[in-house]
């Protein structure tokens, strides 16, 4: 059944299959405390009635000061590598990660933006239409935490209010001792609550919490997308609903082929 839905896709690797809802990092700063998928979402998934959600690429943008480790974080997750040498990102880069969430295929396009001021005018053009915004900072550099406010403000300016979920991610967790880390996390939690963001502390070098973070991002973005889709459909049933469904089941690859290029072009 799955293979008929996505004929051009190889199976999703095991660590990208999310069956149960991934947990938060700290209950003090998280977007939701539920440990299960939203009722409407899981029933829609069971019915395979998630519309175009599984066919679209959902956009995640990662912003933050230069040298906080945005690229390292993404590379650790997507390629499971860590490069000690620093190489500034020019403008923007991206990776695509495929998931299977509650049995539904789901893809994230993770945009890695340059932290250098001189590239801001290029990178900011890629903020639009973000399902999730990850504002990254260096846990060992309090200045970079302060700057996340500005980064978030810039990213939100390009998006509809309430359309993106926000994460505040502290990097280089391995560089801090237990006490220093707790101190940095307390400050970050305070800011995360102010931003209405979910806080995570990770290390791209050791890989600590990296996979868990992105699973959480994917699950929350997925749920957000499905709920939006269901809402959209109930408010405009005649246009969307059935037509989309029939096309998907009757001619799966066509739906995919017409859907993909548009979403790739969004950048």
């Amino acid at each position: 059944m799955k293979s008929t839905l996505r004929p051009l896709r190889p199976p999703v690797s095991r660590d990208r299959i999310i069956a149960s809802f991934p947990k938060w990092y700290t209950p003090d700063a998280c977007l939701q405390l539920k440990e299960l998928f939203h009722g409407q979402v899981s029933s829609a998934c069971e019915r395979r009635d998630t519309g175009t959600v599984g066919l679209r690429l959902s956009k995640v943008v990662v912003v933050g000061d230069l040298y906080v480790g945005k690229t390292s974080l993404i590379h650790r997750f997507c390629k499971n590598v860590f490069d000690r040498d620093y190489k500034a990102t020019i403008g923007v880069d991206f990776e695509i990660e495929r998931f299977e969430i509650a049995g539904v295929p789901y893809s994230l396009q993770i945009w890695d933006t340059a932290g250098q001021e001189k590239f801001k005018c290029i990178a900011s053009a890629y903020y639009r239409g973000a399902q999730a915004i990850i504002t990254a900072f260096d846990l060992s550099d309090v200045q970079t935490l302060e700057h996340t406010r500005q980064w978030l403000e810039d990213a939100l300016r390009e998006n509809e209010p309430g359309s993106s979920i926000i994460f505040l991610v502290g990097t280089k967790k391995d560089l801090l001792s237990g006490a220093a880390c707790a101190q940095a996390e307390t400050e970050a939690v305070r800011l995360a609550n102010e931003m209405q963001a979910e806080f995570w502390a990770v290390s791209a070098k050791t890989g600590e919490n990296v996979q868990a973070l992105f699973s959480r991002v994917a699950a929350l973005a997925f749920e957000h997308s499905v709920l939006q889709e269901l809402e959209r459909r109930s408010s405009a049933r005649p246009q969307v609903g059935d037509a989309g469904l029939i096309r998907m089941e009757g001619c799966p690859s066509e739906a995919q082929e017409t859907e993909r290029p548009t979403s790739l072009r969004c950048c």
Binding site: S3, T4, P7, L8, R9, P10, P11, I90, G91, V92, F94, I96, C121, I122, A125, C251, P252, S253, E254, E257, R260, L264, R265, C267
Partner: protein, 207 residues
């Protein structure tokens, strides 16, 4: 080139002394010194004395003295000026040499407004592309990367046998069907034709 004449001047002065007071009259006007003027005065005074005490000679003598005094003033002022110019020339020459030694750095010291930048055209790493050009290149890179990812996935499908190869030589066919699960075989065939159709449709549309 400029130095030797100074020495010549000194030598000629020496020569002038050797030739006696009369020698001064044979010199080039630009090389006269006050000493030469005194020598000339001496020579002329002697000759006037020889003419006797005619009142016209006495009258002429006053005029000649006046002319010689004027000549003395001109010569001494001239030599002072020449000395000053020589000093100035030497210091300028030193300055030019110092600037030349500092080379291209000297040019970047030109003061500009705070919103201007000096570009060294000999620097191979100088900035030379526009923002729009960088934007275009990035956009193209992103497009190609997206296409590569799609192609890689498709390749993986073929490799893992999810999609059977379109045309298989007789020998390989058996092997491939073994890899492909028999239950999926019929649906795979159907997918292949859809992809094929789509492929032709898209390529036809593009051309």
């Amino acid at each position: 080139m400029e130095e030797p004449p100074v020495r010549e001047e000194e030598e000629e002065e020496g020569d002038g002394n050797d030739l006696g007071p009369e020698g001064a009259l044979g010199k080039s006007p630009s090389q006269l010194t006050t000493e030469d003027v005194y020598d000339i005065s001496y020579v002329m005074g002697r000759e006037l004395m020889a003419l006797g005490s005619d009142p016209r000679v006495t009258q002429l003598q006053f005029k000649i003295v006046r002319v010689l005094e004027m000549l003395e003033t001109l010569v001494s002022e001239g030599s002072l000026e020449a000395e000053e110019l020589r000093l100035e020339r030497d210091s300028l020459r030193k300055e030019v040499q110092a600037l030349r030694n500092r080379g291209p750095v000297a040019t970047s010291e030109v003061s500009l407004g705070s919103n201007k930048m000096v570009v060294d055209l000999t620097d191979p790493n100088r900035p030379r592309f526009t923002l729009q050009e960088l934007r275009d290149v990035l956009q193209e890179r992103n497009k190609l990367k997206a296409q590569l990812l799609v192609a890689q996935e498709e390749l993986q499908c073929y490799k893992s046998g999810l999609i059977p190869p379109r045309e298989t030589p007789g020998g390989r066919r058996e092997k491939d069907t073994l890899v492909t699960r028999t239950s999926n075989a019929s649906s795979n065939k159907e997918e292949k034709t859809i992809i094929k159709k789509l492929f032709f449709f898209r390529s036809g549309k593009q051309t």
